[in-house]
Symmetry: C2
Subunit: 330 residues, 2 copies
Amino acid sequence: MAPRADKPTTTMADVARRAGTSTAVVSYVMNDGPRAVAAATRERVLAAAAELGYRPNRIARALRSRTTGVVGLILADSPNPYFGDLARHVERTLDERDRLVLIGNAGYSAERQRRLVDRFLAAQVDALVIVSADGGEDVTPQAEAAGVPIVYVHHGPDGGRAPLVEADNRHAAQEAVTHLRGHGHARVAFLSGPHDGGPVGRRRAAWQALAGDDPDALLLRCAYTRADADALIRRLVADDAVPRALVTATDEQAIGILSGAWACGLAVPDELALISLDGTPESAHTAPALTVTRQPLRAMAEHAVELVFDPAFQPPAAHAPLVVRRSCGC
Amino acid sequence: MAPRADKPTTTMADVARRAGTSTAVVSYVMNDGPRAVAAATRERVLAAAAELGYRPNRIARALRSRTTGVVGLILADSPNPYFGDLARHVERTLDERDRLVLIGNAGYSAERQRRLVDRFLAAQVDALVIVSADGGEDVTPQAEAAGVPIVYVHHGPDGGRAPLVEADNRHAAQEAVTHLRGHGHARVAFLSGPHDGGPVGRRRAAWQALAGDDPDALLLRCAYTRADADALIRRLVADDAVPRALVTATDEQAIGILSGAWACGLAVPDELALISLDGTPESAHTAPALTVTRQPLRAMAEHAVELVFDPAFQPPAAHAPLVVRRSCGC
DNA sequence: CTGAAAGCGCTTACAG
DNA sequence: CTGAAAGCGCTTACAG
C-alpha cells in the first residue's frame, strides 16, 4: 500500500491542551459519557475540537474499549443477487445502528469461509453475520473461541448452535405448487440445486410431498446459475422433455430458464408455466415477469441484526408471500 | 451490541513467556521481520503460539503501525448489479492482496457519501475506493486532510484531483451505433439517464455525434432502474412512438425495456433492435439475450486497486468490446 | 465536576 | 541475534 502521507493527526491530548482540560474530560464529551461534564467545560472542548478539526481515532478507541463497532458479513456467493440483496439489507440495518461492515465472499468454499472468519476475528469484529448456503461448514466454534456472537441467515449448518434466520420455505413451496395446480397442471416439476441441503432442501421436500406418484420423474437439478438453467432448458427442449409447469428453487434458475426458453422458441407461460421461490427484485422485470413467492429479505436481515444485538430475540416467522405476475399463466 | 463474552485473549506477552523470549522476537516471527530470528527461537515461538492458539490482534497492530490493512469501498448504488459486479471485483482483488474491505452504499446521495467517508476515515482505512455516479461530490479534500489515498472508479467528480479509472465509453457507444447501422437502421435512438454526467454523458455525446439530423427527437431519458425503463417503453408503445433501433446507456434500462416490451407484445429484436452499453453478466441471460458493449469491470477493478498501492501507476485504456447476442437482430 | 495515570496489545527504535 | 522499554490514541478506574 502506498504509505499514507504523514499528516500530523490531531489527538485528544491536543484538544485537551487547547481547552485547558484533561483527555478524560474530552473523552466524556466526545462520547456523551460515562461521566457528566460542566456545560462551560463542554463548550470549550467542543470549540477546541472544532477549531482543530479533531476526529476521534476509532482504532485507539477499539483497542482500549474492546469494541470496534464493526460487524463482519460473509456471503456464500456475492454474484448471486439473492445474496446480494440480503447483504444490502443487512448493511443498511447495521448502518442505521452506526455499525461499519466488513464484507467477504466465501464463493461456496468452506475453506475460504473459514479464512474470512479468521481474518475478521483478528480484526476484532463485534459480531459475525453469515449468509450461508450448501457447503459452508459450521464456524461457530471459531467464533465462540473468540467470544464473538454469530448469526446465520438463509442457511445454517446442520446441528449448528448459532441462531438461524430463515423464511418459511415449506409454506412458500406449497403455495407455488398449489397455485400451478389451480391453473390445471396436475404434474408440477421442480428445479432444485445440485445437492439441496437447508432451505432449498425444505422447498424441495414440500414440493415432493405434493408431487404425487412419481416425483423422481419430475425432479430436475442444476447449479444456482442462469447459465446452467439456460443450458438445462435447451437440453429439455431438444429431448422433448419439457414439463408443462415448473417451480424453480431460485430466481437465478428461473431467469436462466426464461432466457433458454426464449432462445428455443418455447413460450412462457403458454407452453411452460413457471413460478420461482426467491422473488428478488430482479424477478419483477423479466420477460415475462416472474410469478414468485417473495422471500422477506428485509425482515430476515433486520431479524439477523436484532439477534446480533440481543441474543435472546425470538425472530417471528417470516412468511414468503405469493406474488402473482405473468410467468404462471395468470 | 451484545457484550462479547470476556474470553481471556492470549497475547504476545503470553507467547513470549511460554517461548522464553521477548515480545519483540514474537513480533518478528509473526511478521517475518523486520529483523531476523534464529531458527531455533523461531521454532519455539511458533510452537508456543500454536499451543496457546495465539491470534495477533490487528487493532493493536493498527494503532501502533498506523496501517490497518483495511480499504473502504463506497458504492453509488449497491442494488444496481453494475456497481455490484464492480464491487465484487474490487473486493476479490483486495482480498488477494490480503486487505479487508469495509463497504458502504451512498445511494446516490452526496450527504450519505460524505458521512461514509468520515466514518471510514475515523476507522483509519488505508485507502478509499469510490465507485461513483452522477450526484456524488468530490471527497478528495476530506481524504487528503487525513492523508488517505483515494481512487474513483467508473465516474469521478468534475475537475477532481483524484485518479479516475474508466472504460473507453466513447468508443463503446460508437461501436453500438455503428453495429445497428449495419443492420440497416438509419435512425438509432439513445436512452440516457436523468442528467447524464460522466460516463453516461460521454456515451450519449458519442451517440449524438453519429445521430444525424435531429438527435433531440431520438434522445430518451429515464432513471437507471428496470422499473423506470419498463414504464417508459410501455408509454412509447401506447403513444406509437417506439424507435426501430435503440442503444441504452445501461443494462438496468435495457432489461426494463425487454420486460416492458414483452408485456406489450412488442417483439425484440424484430420490432425493436436493442444494444446495451454495460454488458454485466446479467445481460447474457435475458430474453432475448442482450447484445452489449461489455465494460471491462474486472480490469477496471484491478487498475483501481493497483492505483491504491501505486499512485504512479498509469492504467492502460480499458476497451469495452462489442458482444453480439440476439437483441440487435443478428 | 475534574485530573493524573494506568493500560489495551502491539511495533520498533535503542542498547547490548 | 535478542531484551527492556517507549509509545500509538484512546478509556476508565482511582483519587480528589
